[in-house]
């Protein structure tokens, strides 16, 4: 798994629960790396081991944990770059939803060896979408749900989110867009820079 992904989990633990909690996680996971490098690639087995250990340390179910991580990724000041890059997806929440199909390609354009799980947006009747997440990482759908929850706020949209497990490692986030301009949302200037 790419270091950026492992590093995100590490940052989530350190920023939310402190360095000691993270060290506890690495010890339980039995991994020798305590500091993941964002630009290196690690063995695939490391990531699930880390996530299992995080669940144990925080006493939280995988789904709950992943949703929290997803929310962290797009709301914490330390990860502002992620929010900004996602906001490039469009002016309105709906544009943003449609841009999610391109997300793995966009990610690969920035970091050549970063392979994000495949996600697919389906449009049903008016304002109803489902986001199909196909990932070897259990709970990736929950993570996307956390991302969507915060991004909806960011765009000032009112949405109802739900998760359906459809088996075969596929998790589907059901999205009901109630109101696109429910609130003001957060500011986004194209020309500003998070870095």
């Amino acid at each position: 798994m790419h270091g950026l992904i492992n590093r995100s989990f590490q940052n989530y633990m350190c920023d939310s629960y402190g360095k000691d909690a993270w060290l506890d996680v690495t010890a339980r996971a039995g991994v020798s790396t305590i500091e993941f490098e964002a630009m290196l690639v690690y063995d695939d087995a490391v990531t699930p081991a880390i996530l299992n250990a995080m669940g144990e340390v925080l006493r939280r179910k995988r789904g709950e944990l992943m949703e929290d991580i997803g929310a962290y990724l797009v709301s914490h000041p330390n990860t502002e770059a992620v929010r900004r890059l996602l906001r490039f997806g469009g002016m309105k929440f709906e544009d943003f939803l449609h841009s999610l199909d391109d997300l793995p390609d966009r990610a690969r354009m920035a970091v050549g060896d970063l392979h994000l799980p495949a996600i697919e947006l389906h449009n049903h009747e008016e304002g109803h979408y489902s986001l199909i997440c196909d990932s070897p990482l259990t709970g990736f759908g929950h993570l996307m749900m956390g991302v969507l929850r915060v991004m909806a706020d960011d765009y000032g949209a009112l949405v109802l989110l739900d998760l359906e497990e459809s088996g075969e490692g596929k998790e589907t986030v059901s999205i009901r867009l109630i109101k696109t301009d429910f609130a003001d949302g957060r500011e986004f200037e194209l020309g500003a820079r998070a870095l």
Binding site: M39, M91, L190, G191
Partner: protein, 342 residues
Amino acid sequence: MTIAFEPDVLDMLCPMHLMLDGQGVITHIGPTTQKLRPDMSLIGMRFLDAFTVMRPRGITTLDQLRNARHLKLHLEMAGVPPARLKGVLVSSGQNSAIVNLSFGISIVDGVRDYALTNADFAATDLAIEMLYLVEAKTAAMESSRKLNLRLQGAKLAAEEQAFTDTLTGLKNRRALDQVLERLLTINAAFAVMHIDLDYFKAVNDTLGHAAGDHVLQVVAKAMIEETRTTDTVARVGGDEFTVILPDVRDINVLDRIGRRIIGRIEVPIPFNNSLCEISASIGTVWIQGGNSATRETVMEDADLALYASKNDGRARQTFYTPELRKTANSLMPPTGRGIKRP
């Protein structure tokens, strides 16, 4: 054939355009063009008053501008902040013309300076993708740069903490100091041999550094073979070595080891078609435990003994005795490992 476009079609397809009439006066501007100069009434101005053509050079009249149609124009817009734009002019019938503008490579600055949004670019324009890429690549680059800095730091730290001399594979001075410090702390009985190669400089000078390096490697191997596995052999300078021998109960043992080492070093070493003939001088100090030796005094005593070997004609071992100190005071300059001996 000429197709006339309605202005709102052009506003959608190229929001950063201007329409000119037969006199070169601006008659319409796209919504993004207006954003560049919100306080300026561009409509009604002569195009060549609002823009200076930087390239192709020498375009100051309307006729010259028309002749440059279809060419890539480098433009500078009047007013502040300075705006350098790319443009292209096409005729649109009856002497009128359309100029389409773009930021070119300065897109990042342009978007910031004029607070542009996605809506200010045509849906097919790659400007947003370009901005995305710049931002994503900058983040990735920064991450890589940090990794490089950390790796460089780690490399320096590792080198600093290294205990091995890279040329010979022997221990280095840092390792030696640690071993010595430990033996002194536990008041052990041990010996320290300073070994300095004789005639090594001649090998280096006549046969070159490659020969010198080869000799050092051969000598290092010989020293390892002639000492016990519990002994520590270190290279502490160019052609200077130190051996620490713990658990020495008999001075004769030291004498034998010294002779064997000198004997081995004196075996001529073939290099290409030459033979390198060197020898070694040794100064040895035997610490019998329980005395007040420090790392500095031990090294100094061994140095004095080595100096005596050099003075007595080289290729020999001298054991330190306090008398050497008196002789040393009267005969020699202060010794130190850094000083090249005769």
